[in-house]
């Protein structure tokens, strides 16, 4: 609770502020959109937070989103695969990617930044190759399949909870259980704080680090699937661009330290929500153009980490 207090207050303040400046903000449609986008980015952010907790980083998320987001419609539309087969293949590829990252980082001892930077280039390049740089989508078909992202659980006539948000809740609960109730979660925090001491305590640190990269890639694949089902259009050169940075930003806002060893699932989800409300706020303020979004997100992120650092220093001094 203590860890997410700051970000929760930020979300509430932003939410109230945006409500006051724009009446359309509270419309059911807009709220649904915010929930959905929070969910989509939140899934990526939960994934990357596992990696960040171990003290690593994954820059390949956006490219995995692209690979899966373009690959599934490509397999289904061009090669006639069933959606189930295409989705299974996509997740298998994501698992392989995670295992590969883990292997290169733990056994070949490469730096996570370098490994996943190469991944960022390779997966996008490969996607542009097999998709021949053509935009992929499901056209007007596969509406049932697309319900996975476009469907919603109707609460009132006008408002329903989008399917991706329900998925986020399920994934969030599993992630929370994994991090807080299992030995693996404890191992992740332990090795994120001090890998050498964790290894000396008999923890198979290599296996745990690899696990975190697999989780990250699999959630990136899930995000990619939902993004393309929702938007129905994936352009290999642009789809998922910078998504890893949104995910990392949400994780950091939510209390993950890039030094490793700390982070909470709820904090990360709230971090993702803050980013979406911010985006919405930018649209509602006239003099802030939407192409200035990065400026605002960057400033908010900077303020958040500076504030966090100052609070920590004060706490240390009191102790």
């Amino acid at each position: 609770m203590k860890q997410i207090f700051g970000i929760l207050i930020t979300l509430i303040v932003l939410y109230i502020f945006t409500t006051v400046i724009g009446e359309s903000f509270l419309s059911p449609f807009n709220q649904e959109q915010i929930l959905k986008r929070t969910a989509l980015y939140g899934l990526l952010a939960i994934g990357v937070s596992f990696v960040i907790i171990t003290g690593g980083i994954d820059l390949s998320i956006g490219s995995v989103v692209c690979l899966v987001g373009c690959g599934i419609p490509w397999l289904v539309m061009k090669h006639g695969w069933s959606p189930a087969a295409a989705v299974t293949a996509a997740f298998l590829v994501a698992i392989m990617i995670g295992l590969l990252h883990g292997f290169l980082i733990t056994k070949v001892k490469l730096q996570p930044f370098v490994v996943t930077l190469c991944g960022l280039l390779i997966y996008r390049g490969a996607t542009r190759g097999f998709a021949e740089d053509q935009t992929q989508g499901f056209g007007s078909g596969y509406l049932e399949f697309r319900k996975l992202a476009t469907g919603k659980l109707q609460i009132t006539d006008q408002f329903g909870i989008p399917m991706p948000f329900l998925l986020l809740v399920v994934v969030g609960v599993f992630a929370w259980l994994l991090l807080n109730k299992t030995i693996w979660g404890r191992y992740l925090f332990a090795l994120g704080n001090n890998e050498e001491a964790a290894r000396l305590s008999g923890i198979n640190t290599d296996r745990m680090v690899t696990l975190s990269y697999v989780i990250c890639s699999v959630l990136a694949a899930l995000g990619g699937l939902l993004f393309v089902l929702d938007g129905n259009s994936a352009q290999p050169g642009a789809f998922g661009n910078f998504y890893e940075l949104y995910a990392i930003a949400a994780a950091v806002l939510g209390g993950c330290s890039l030094r490793g060893g700390s982070g909470t699932v709820l904090g990360v989800i709230i971090g993702a929500a803050v980013m979406q409300v911010l985006k919405n706020m930018i649209n509602l303020i006239d003099w802030l153009k939407s192409h200035m979004e990065f400026l605002v997100v960057g400033v908010v992120l900077l303020v958040a980490v500076v504030a966090d650092e100052l609070v920590k220093r004060r706490v240390r001094r009191v102790k």
């Binding site: 299992t182 030995i183 925090f189 050498e196 001491a197 305590s201 008999g202 198979n204 102790k319």
Partner: protein
Amino acid sequence: MLSARGVTKRFPGVVALKGVDLKVARGEVVSLIGENGAGKSTLMKILAGVQKPDEGEITMDGRRLDVSSVAAAQAEGVSLIHQELNLAENLSVAANLFLGREPNRFGFMDQKTIRLEARKYLTKVGLEIDPETPLSQLSLGKQQLVEIAKALSTRAKVIIMDEPTSSLSHGEVETLFEVVRDLKEQGVSVIYVSHRLAEVMTVSDRVVVFRDGEKVGELGVGEATHEAMVRLMVGRDVSQLYQRTEHELGEPALSVKGLRTEANPDHEINLQVRAGEVVGIAGLVGAGRSEMLEAIFGMTPPLAGKVQGVLPKSPREAMSLGLAFVPEDRKKKGLILDLTVEENTSLASLKMDARGPFLNREKEKRLCREMTKALAIKTPGPWQKARFLSGGNQQKIVLAKWLALSPTVLLLDEPTRGVDIGSKEEIYQLMEKFASEGMAVLFVSSELDEIMGMADRVLVMREGRLTGELGRSDFSEEAIMNLATQS
């Protein structure tokens, strides 16, 4: 000449120095001694400008000294020679001497002056070598002398030496002492910090003893006997500190055969420790003692050799053989500082106690409660982060973590380093208790008192190999140091 008055330094949770006074006359050699954490190194660092005091003042000939930084202290004539030398190995001796203050002309190095000056200062410390020799070609003892020459070249009036002999051979120690005597005659004062009491007796004019951040006594040349120094350092007779009981030794519980480590691939190590036996490993810093323990525990897997019949490839494997290891650097290797006392205590046994993949919180809590009580760990609660505990209590958590696995062999690397005297006594009592319960204990220590006080048998290492073995009746500082330094 140099005088410190009422120096106080607080660190989070501890007062490292409580209003300490120290006076050093011109050409005097003053030794500072005390247990780890007694405050001697803090005082030394304050005098050399490495740390700032919270209170107190430092004067030289009645004039207040500016020791706000290392450079300022050096300009005032106070130089510190660190235990781990601060030299650039790849540069020449001359380049090291004038690093950062090279004589120059319009930014170009004045090589001629550098060489002449270098030779002058090297002669002062009795080094007849070419200033252009790369430093890495010199032995550690000679590098030490280069450090002293460097201090002299800054016109140091006071040179502080921190454990200068910890990695020197016998002959090199003699040379160092001659240089110290020369310095005295040149009117340079020396503050000498060491654990080696025999050396302290030889070299100093006066011995100042610290305990728990306070100056507890001063001894002149005649008074500084071994017993007198130890009594002041420890605050009681040593015989009370090391309490061993006689008990039957069992079968060999640890057997190491043909062990070759990465650090010393050319020497095979063979040793055995019997159940209930406490074996100490002595040797100089760099003799390969830690490397040996780390290899036995699979932390740095050995190149070859068998521990309990197998080659340990990871700590996990060593643990399954009944081994436990308390490393030298508990903050980097022993503990996870930002996890709680409870989480640290249960870390090694977590898997054993888990229900499937799920944590067993009740068992975890019970384990922490039991261990906190059994080892008398002082913590405000199980939720406290290990970071905020004192050195002694941190060390006990590392022990608790292993005890939860009921190991048959306990390896300890410098078990009492940086631990206050009270905790030290408790750790010795625990070692004795574990042995009497049938555990085999193998420990590395650089403190000869500790080795001789606790061990049933001492193995001495030098340059990566075991050079000797002494039974309790043959223990003496001389015998151990001979085995550790003979060549």
